[in-house]
C-alpha cells in the first residue's frame, strides 16, 4: 500500500534539511501490532508507531479515521484488542500521564473550586495537603496565570476553564501529555493565546506531547512531527518532520518552510480523503 509511507521518504525536498538520522530520536512511546475494532469496523489493524521522547507530535487525518481513538488507546481510556504500547519500556500503569479533553466543561469537577481541581490528581497520589498547595501555587506562578482560582469552574470563561484543565494535567509533572482537540471549542483569539501558552509549556518542560487536531495550521505550527493518518483502517500516510525553529511566532506562519510543509501535509490529507 502506498499509503504506508516510509518514515522520511514522503518529506518534500524543502524539509529535507533534516539529517537522515533525525527520525531516530530517542523513542518514548512504542506501539506495536495495535489492533482495534468497533463492532465490525476495523479502526486499527496491526498498527506500529514510535513517538519520540520530548517531542511534540500532532495527529491529523480524515474525519472518523481514529485520531482520538489512537491517543485514547495510548492513554488507556479505550481498551485495545491486540498489540503492545510501552512508554520507554514501561507500562501505562508505571507511567505518569496527563490528558486534556476537548470538552473542558465536562472534564472539570464543578463541585471543586478551580484550585482544588488542579490539585485533585495530587490528592489521588496521596500528596499531603500543604505540599499540594505549594505545588499548585508554583505551577500557577510559573504559567503566569491570572485567574481567580477560588472560583468554581462554571464561573470561568471557556479559555480559563481549559487553562485550569491543562494545569490539572501538568501538576503531576507528566512524562507524556495527551491533548484531544483542546482548543476547538474556543474562539479564535483564545485559541491563539492558548497555543502560545502550550508552546511555552512544551518549550520549558520538554514533556512529550501528543496533540489531536482538526486544524492543520495548528497541527503543523506546534509540532516537531506531524502524523498523518489514512482513512480506516488507519495507517501512517506520512510522519513528516517539522524542523522549524522555536519559539514559533506569527512570522512562522508565513515562513516558506512552514508554508511548504503545510502544503505537503494538505496534499497527503486530500489524497487520503479522496481514496474513500
Amino acid at each position: 500500500m502506498s499509503a504506508v509511507a516510509k518514515e522520511n521518504a514522503a518529506v518534500p525536498p524543502g524539509t529535507a534539511a533534516v539529517r537522515p538520522g533525525a527520525g531516530d530520536d530517542s523513542i518514548h512511546i512504542t506501539i506495536r501490532g495495535l489492533s482495534k475494532k468497533f463492532q465490525d469496523v476495523v479502526i486499527y489493524d496491526n498498527f506500529d508507531l514510535d513517538i519520540p521522547r520530548g517531542k511534540f507530535v500532532s495527529v491529523f487525518g480524515p474525519n472518523g479515521c481514529g485520531k482520538s481513538t489512537l491517543i485514547n488507546m495510548i492513554a488507556g481510556l479505550t481498551p485495545i484488542d491486540a498489540g503492545t504500547i510501552l512508554f520507554g519500556g514501561k507500562t501505562l500503569k508505571e507511567t505518569k500521564i496527563g490528558y486534556v479533553f476537548q470538552n473542558y466543561r465536562e472534564a472539570l469537577f464543578p463541585w471543586l473550586r478551580s484550585f482544588e481541581n488542579i490539585a485533585y490528581p495530587l490528592k489521588l497520589m496521596q500528596v499531603p495537603k500543604a505540599e499540594r498547595r505549594a505545588k499548585v501555587e508554583r505551577l500557577v506562578e510559573h504559567m503566569g496565570v491570572k485567574i481567580d482560582l477560588a472560583r468554581y469552574p462554571y464561573e470561568l470563561s471557556g479559555g480559563q476553564m481549559q487553562l485550569v484543565s491543562i494545569m490539572r494535567s501538568l501538576v503531576v509533572d507528566p512524562e507524556v501529555l495527551f491533548l484531544d482537540e483542546p482548543f476547538s471549542a474556543l474562539d479564535y483569539e483564545m485559541t491563539l493565546f492558548m497555543r502560545e501558552q502550550l508552546q511555552r509549556v512544551f518549550y520549558e518542560t520538554r514533556t512529550t506531547m501528543v496533540l489531536v487536531s482538526h486544524d492543520l495550521e495548528e497541527a503543523v505550527y506546534l509540532a516537531d512531527r506531524v502524523l498523518l493518518l489514512s482513512r480506516r483502517p488507519a495507517r501512517i500516510a506520512d510522519y513528516a518532520l517539522a524542523p522549524l525553529a522555536r519559539p514559533r511566532t506569527d512570522a512562522t506562519l508565513s515562513d516558506p518552510q512552514f508554508v511548504q510543509l503545510k502544503g505537503h501535509c494538505l496534499e497527503i490529507f486530500q489524497r487520503e480523503v479522496r481514496k474513500s
Binding site: F109, M125, R168
Partner: protein
Amino acid sequence: MKRDAFLPVVGVIGLIAVWYVAVWIKVVDPVLLPSPGATFTALAKGMAGGALAVDFLRTVERTGYAIAIATVFAVPVGIVLGSSERLYRSVEFVIDFFRSTPASALFPLFLVVFGVGDKTKILVGSFAAALGILFNVAYGVMHARKTRLLAARVMGASRLRVLTDVLLLESLPQTFVGLRSGVSIALVIVVVAEMFIGSQDGLGHAVFEAQQLFRMPEMYAAIFAAGALGYGLNLLFLLVEKRFVHWSGK
C-alpha cells in the same frame, strides 16, 4: 426590577379579593365558604398553640420519617442500579410499574400487614417516595458525564474513588429532583392516610374532623396549613440543594 419582586403578591391579593366578593354577594352558601377573616382567625388561633399546631407537627413528623426511610433505602439502591446499565434495565419495568401505581391503592394491604397505627401511614408514604427517588438517583448515576469519569480514571482514580469522588456528586442534582418530588408525594400520602380510621391527629385528620363537625373555618385553616407545609418543604429542599449542590444546572 425591584417592583417585579412584588408580582407574586398580586395573585394572593387577587385571590383574597375574589374570595371576599364571593362571600359578600353570597354566590356560595356561607356555611360552605366562610369569610377570609374567619378562616385566617381560625388558622392563627389553631397554629398559635391550638390543636392545629399539634396536628401540623404530627404531619411534619410522619412526612419526615417517611422521606428519611425512603432516602436511606432508595439512594444506595439507586446508586447500585445506576452503576450497571444491564442491572437497571432488568428491573426498570418493575420500578416503573410500581412508580406508576397510586400508592393510595396499597393502603388496605399495608393496613392488614402493619395495622392502623403510625407505621402504616409512614411506610406507605415511604413506599410512594422511594421509587421516585430511586429512579432519579439511578438516572443521575447512569447519565453521569462520560468525560468526567474518564478524566478521573486517566488521573489514576480507582473504581472506588471514581464512585465516591465523581459518580456520587454527579448524581446529586438528579437526586435532589427525586427528593423534592418524593417529599411532595410522601406528604400527599401521609395526609390521606391521616383521614383513615384510627387516626387521632395530623392535618388529614384535622381537615376530616372539621368537615364532619361542619366547622368550615377550621377546615379551611387546616387545608391552608397543609398547603403551607407542602410549599415550605419544597422550598426547604430547594434551599438545601442550592447550598450543597451549587453546580446544579450549570
